[in-house]
């Protein structure tokens, strides 16, 4: 006769473990969306809308859809099993705010694909630098959010970095806009280019907003 371990013993904290993994996967998606975005922007500036750009756009939509599913599933489980009753409201808002960051990445790629702004080469470096800083901001806020779940004391460290990079992004955005408006492009082109500068800078602003609320949640979570 063969004996096997009772499955109940193994599943004691199994649901918790599955949910932990889903939350980690969700944050992976946010970070991945940033990488795809910066890659797509680089591609657009180099060759414009092409098959590869479209593929990246599709990939971004795909990430957005999966992240949405994960988020819904996590929220359902939290409420169905009345997990972390005192903090689940905060966790819910955190996940939704993070999800908005993915939506912003995807929306920006769509706007580029539809409006196809004509960016003169002299501004490429400025756009790339701004994008890099904004994406870093989001990556740092992802780290802060992960810390909220695992290591509450380092939320503060990550938040400090988010704030620093957001200020950097603001400086880069102003510098780029000033360069655009002092150039001899026509006003409608200037305004079109400015629109995209602001959209990219908004990513960093949104990341900073998440960091601010996260700081409050972290205080609430303290033992």
């Amino acid at each position: 006769m063969r004996f096997s371990l009772s499955p109940k013993k193994i599943t004691l904290f199994n649901k918790t473990r599955i949910l932990e993994r889903q939350i980690d996967e969700f944050f992976d998606k946010v970070a991945e969306a940033g990488l795809v975005f910066s890659h797509a922007l680089k591609m657009y500036l180099a060759v414009g809308v092409c098959d590869e750009f479209d593929a990246l756009l599709n990939q971004e939509s795909d990430i957005e859809g999966k992240a949405d599913n994960l988020r819904r599933n996590i929220e359902m489980e939290l409420y169905a099993q009345t997990l972390i009753p005192d903090l689940r409201g905060d966790v819910l808002r955190l996940l939704e705010d993070m999800d908005k960051l993915i939506n912003m990445y995807e929306g920006n790629l769509h706007r580029i694909s539809i409006q196809q702004p004509d960016v003169p080469e002299q501004f490429h470096a400025g756009y790339l630098e701004l994008t890099g800083t904004a994406v870093t901001c989001v990556e740092l806020v992802v780290m802060a959010a992960r810390s909220f779940f695992r290591d509450i004391n380092s939320v503060r460290d990550h938040n400090a970095k988010v704030i620093f990079h957001e200020t950097e992004a603001d400086k880069l955005s102003s510098k780029l806009q000033r360069a655009i408006f002092t150039s001899d492009l026509s006003l409608e082109r200037k305004m079109h280019l400015r629109y995209f500068v602001e959209r990219i800078d908004d990513l960093a602003n949104a990341a900073e907003d998440v960091a601010d609320t996260l700081a409050i949640y972290a205080i609430k979570r303290r033992v």
């Binding site: 904290f13 918790t16 473990r17 949910l19 932990e20 939350i23 009345t82 997990l83 972390i84 009753p85 005192d86 903090l87 966790v91 909220f148 779940f149 695992r150 290591d151 004391n153 979570r221 033992v223």
Partner: protein, 494 residues
Amino acid sequence: MDLTVLILLGSGLFLGWSLGANDAANVFGTAVGTRMVSFGTAAVVCGVFVILGAVISGAGAANTLGKLGSIDAIAGSFMAALAAAVTVYGMTRSGLPVSTSQAIVGAIIGWNLFSDAVTDTQALAKILFTWMVSPILAGLIAVLLFKLTEWVLNRAHLHLLRLDAYTRFALIGAGAFGAYSLGANNIANVMGVFVPVSPFTDFALTEQFTLTSVQQLFLLGSIAIALGVFTYSKRVMLTVGNELMPMSPINAWVVVVAHSIVLFLFASQGLEHTLAEAGLPTIPLVPVSSSQAVIGAVIGLGLLKGGRNVRWSVLVQIGTGWVVTPFLAAALCFVGLFFLQNVFDQQVYKPLRFELTPQVALRMSARGVPQVAYADLIGRSYESSGALLDDLTRHTLLTGKQVRIAIDQAKIQPLEITRFKLASTDFSRLNEAQRIALQLLEGQQYQYAWELADALSALSPQWTPRPAAAVNRSFNKRLEEDFAYLVRTFEISR
């Protein structure tokens, strides 16, 4: 057991029910209030562990109450429990924090006053001191436990969800411990006054395991507590949960554990024996207030976090409760006993006699009370300990301790070691030498309990108290309990 007895026990069951309805919230209130544990789980765990605690470890605190005043007629016990229950109910209705411990102590003193029995001031002082200490101790334990928990959690880096899952388990565990301690410590309040008049006889479940009459009484009382938990505590749990200070589940855990440790410390005979054997000072076994232990723990945590969240008005309320509860219960009990005796013609206490015979005088001098101090009173007899006390304080200069010795020695307590009673004696609690000595005394009669003690002591060193030293404390205590059991068993009912 006839119906009257059950009706008379009813007041104790009512008190048990209200204890379950109110105090279960101290154990599971925050867990249920914060929705970490469902009410169903909480009620089942609480009910089961209250019963276990009461039956297994309930005796220690009950002994102290017995010392304060030994109510010797079941109608008297009925009124004491009823007075306590009405006080608890009334105070709860008027929104004052109330403790069943304080109510029952007040009621016992009311009975002492009515029956003109002397209240043991030493036991009373011990109880009052414990009441002052228990909230402070709970606060200290809470602070230490919080610091330790914080230290561990800051290093463990648990995922929020994992921490949540562990906290649920910990809350249920702490609740079980809390319910056990509550049962062990507070069953004395509910059923303590019925111990000397227990209508039950010992009952052997198996050869090794006997349910004593006291345990049966405690079982009944704890079932009443469990009923209180199931039928009425949900509302209290949901409202009380966050009343004092908003708390996180982990803080709630700290509070429940601190509360439970305090209740356990003041109820555990096992711990008392261990401490005594190690030569350490023991902790008095006294019923303490579960609510006040919780309040102490919450205030301890509040102070640790800067004291801004603590509502100090609660402290004033506790103070009011401390003063009002015992007085109210004593007054109610006194008036109730008067009606029970004079209107309903019930015996609320047994007539006692105290006689200062030359024999008693000899024993008193052996215990450091010189005969010359009360020579005029030798040969007199008294109807109550109060009357003896009056005479001694009026005509002599004896100290309180010497008066206590006189009351103990002069109490007439006719005993007879009959074959019939020997047959129903629970010998499992006695050792071989003790058993043989007891059986040799078959057919003997005694006027004073100490005569039996002397006779037993002459037959076996196992019945002889050892010199008062820390190492002998647990032997002597055990001997005292065994002897009290013999007196209960062989007393000639009057």
